[in-house]
């Protein structure tokens, strides 16, 4: 039981401190699950990141599920995952209610509008990383080789998908499925 509780507590902390999300929180998670607790090896942690990129779901949630499974079976996975998302959900709902109640306040209005813009800027930043990774791979590429190292197939899928999206506004899931099929046909 105590292992399950420790899993819950550790991932509660990880969830609480992972503001902004994405890959910025990798060092924090690594410190907790590899260095501090010794739950998994460093190699396994790198594998989890790879798997996270290949499977749906946020990195922190995937890591918690994986580590939970390794340490405490299914109960461990549930404890770690719930711990990981709990703080975010509660704080997020409180903030939402706060902003809704005080909509008429000029301060709340200004802050919410500012947050909209700033968080869009952060989304653009995340998207830039996604686009770069899709077209050039995860490793940094020197500017001088940018053209020769560009993945033509990825650029084709990206351009067609974007064109179709702008023109016909299809269901995003159809776009995902179609690009997956295109990847299967063009890469293998």
């Amino acid at each position: 039981m105590s292992a399950i509780l420790r899993l819950f507590w550790t991932f509660l902390k990880i969830g609480l401190f992972s503001i902004g999300g994405g890959y910025a929180i990798i060092p924090l998670i690594r410190e907790q699950v590899v260095a501090n607790s010794g739950w998994i090896s460093s190699k396994m942690f790198t594998d989890i990141i790879t798997i996270s990129q290949m499977t749906p779901g946020p990195l922190a949630v995937n890591t918690s599920t994986f580590v939970g499974l390794q340490v405490g079976g299914i109960a461990g996975a549930v404890a770690a995952t719930v711990g990981c998302v709990l703080c975010g959900i509660v704080i997020c709902l409180l903030l939402h209610r706060f902003f809704q109640r005080h909509q008429s306040s000029i301060y709340v209005f200004e802050v919410l509008n500012g947050l909209k813009s700033a968080s869009l800027g952060l989304i653009v930043s995340a998207a830039a990383t996604i686009v770069l990774t899709a077209l050039w791979g995860a490793q940094p590429v020197p500017i001088s080789d940018a053209f020769s190292l560009l993945n033509g197939t990825a650029l084709a899928i990206f351009s067609v998908a974007l064109l179709v999206l702008r023109r016909w506004k299809p269901n995003p899931m159809l776009v995902m499925l179609a690009s997956g099929v295109a990847g299967l046909l063009l890469y293998s």
Binding site: G15, I19, G21, G22, A24, I51, M54, T55, P56, G57, L59, A60, V61, N62, T65, A77, V85, C87, G88, I89, C92, L93, I106, Y107, F109, E110, V111, N113, G114, L115, K116, S117, A118, S119, L120, G121, L122, I123, V124, S125, A126, A127, I130, A134, A154, L155, I157, F158, L162, R166, K169, P172, M173, V175, M176, S179, G180, G183, L184, S188
Partner: protein, 177 residues
């Protein structure tokens, strides 16, 4: 709603941000549960809170549609696919990583995700620019540069933004009086 969130979550490859266009499609465009404007506020709040934006946004969407019961339903639905898929994958993950077919499909999806993100950003930027506020419009590239080029953490950027906005509100009020 359980079905929709389950579906959305099963397709969040390549990071949680992809839920924003998905939620937009189902809750805003199809079901008209809330407006595009509200979605932007919710996305901003989901991002400013700790934890994964994907889960937080699902929770908010659930709350908006059906209150606390909705939160519970959409959160369970959002967590379930990663839980099940990862459970399956972790059993034989080395085989999975080495599989060429899996890699080809995922590489294709990566490009699709990139296109979806660009599509979303174009629409969201247009909404902010439409408000004709130089301050709010300038905030987008500033936050982007701070995070992408200067590698400043999201927490600091959002905090600085809050302080700036409060200062602006104070200044505006003084101007009125």
């Amino acid at each position: 709603m359980f079905g929709v969130n389950l579906f959305i979550s099963a397709f969040t490859f390549g990071g949680g941000y992809i839920v924003v266009p998905m939620v937009r499609r189902y809750f805003v465009q199809k079901k008209r549960c809330f407006t595009e404007e509200e979605l932007m506020s919710m996305a901003a709040i989901a991002q400013s809170s700790p934890g994964a934006i994907a889960i937080n946004l699902s929770a908010l969407a659930g709350y908006q549609v059906a209150g606390l019961g909705g939160v519970l339903v959409s959160c369970v639905a959002a967590i379930l696919p990663p839980l099940l898929i990862l459970g399956a994958v972790s059993a034989f993950y080395r085989v999975f990583i080495a599989n060429a077919v899996v890699a080809a499909v995922l590489k294709g999806m990566e490009a699709g995700v990139a296109a979806l993100m660009v599509d979303l950003i174009v629409d969201m930027c247009a909404m902010i620019v439409k408000e004709k506020s130089a301050f709010l419009t300038a905030m987008i590239p500033v936050a982007f540069l701070a995070n992408f080029v200067f590698q400043i953490g999201a927490v600091y950027i959002l905090l600085a933004c809050c302080l700036l906005c409060i200062a602006r509100a104070v200044w505006k009020r003084r101007g009125v009086q």
